[in-house]
Amino acid sequence: MMTFDRLQADSVLGQCDFEFSEATFGEWWALFPDDAASRPTMPSAMVAMVLMRAFMSIMRDRPPGNIHAGQKFRIVSLPVLGDRLSTQLRCLSKDIRNSRRWVTFGSETSDAAGRPLFFGEMTTLWAA
C-alpha cells in the first residue's frame, strides 16, 4: 500500500503509455458530443482524462478515501489521433498541515518523440 510514509518527495513513481485512438476518442465524445469538432486533434478537456488514467494505473496500490483538492494544467501542444503518449508521474512534495497529509503529484505527458505535450500538478489530501 502506497501510504503517506512510503511516498518520497521529489521521486518518480512511474510511467504510463497511452494511445490516442479512435476508440478512446469515441468514448469521450459519446459523453461530450461537442468535443467531436476538434477531431483529429485531442480536445483540451481530455488532458484530465489522460492524467487520471496514468494516475489510476501507476498508483493502483493507494489507500482508499483520498481527496483531490486542487489541480493545475499547462498545455504546450495537443496530440492528434494515432499519437502515442507517455505520462510520467512524480511525487513532488508531501507535508502534514493541521493534522492532514498533503501530497502533491506532478505529471508530464510527452509524445513518442519525447516532446512535452502537457503538464499537470495534482494536490491531494492523502487518506493514510
Binding site: L31, A45, M56, K72, R74, I75, S77, L78
Partner: protein
C-alpha cells in the same frame, strides 16, 4: 481584444455520465459509483469525479478562444465542494486583467442549491503566430 466573459458550458451529471466518466478514466472509486458505500462516507452520498467538472472549464475556454489557443493556456483550480448526482454543472469565467488572466469557476445547480464547486484562474496563451508573408505580398512576389 479578449472577451470579458467566457462562453458558459453546462452539463447534467447523472448516474450514467458518472459511470461513463469512470470507464473513460478507469477511476472506479466507490464514492462515485456505489450509493450504499458513498452514503456511509463523510460525503453522505455519491459525488461525481472532480475532473469531470474540470473538463467543462476547458470546454468553456475552448468555446471562447478556440481549441487552437489552448496550447499555451494554463489552469490552476481548487475543488471547493463536491458535485452530486443529478446536479447541473455550469462552467464559466470573467476577465481578471489585461494580461490574459481569467477568474474561472464551475457552479453546481440542483439538489436545492446553487454554489461554486471549482474556483481558480486560467491564463490564456498568446495567439498563434501569424504567417509573416501575407497572401497579397506572396502574390506580389510571385508576379513577374
Amino acid at each position: 481584444m479578449r472577451p470579458i466573459n467566457l462562453i458558459e458550458r453546462r452539463f447534467h451529471v447523472d448516474r450514467a455520465a458518472i459511470r461513463r466518466y469512470a470507464d473513460i478514466t478507469q477511476d472506479y472509486n466507490p464514492i462515485h459509483l456505489d450509493p450504499d458505500f458513498a452514503a456511509k462516507t463523510s460525503m453522505g452520498g455519491v459525488i461525481a469525479h472532480g475532473m469531470l467538472s474540470l473538463s467543462l472549464l476547458w470546454q468553456s475556454l475552448a468555446a471562447t478562444f478556440g481549441e487552437e489557443r489552448m496550447p499555451g493556456t494554463a489552469l490552476d483550480i481548487r475543488f471547493v465542494k463536491p458535485v452530486r448526482e443529478d446536479d447541473w454543472v455550469i462552467a464559466g469565467g470573467m476577465k481578471a486583467d489585461e494580461q490574459g488572466h481569467y477568474d474561472v469557476w464551475v457552479r453546481a445547480d440542483g439538489n436545492g442549491r446553487c454554489e461554486t464547486v471549482i474556483a481558480g484562474t486560467a491564463t490564456i496563451g498568446p495567439p498563434p503566430a501569424r504567417p509573416t508573408t501575407s497572401a497579397s505580398t506572396l502574390i506580389a512576389k510571385e508576379s513577374p
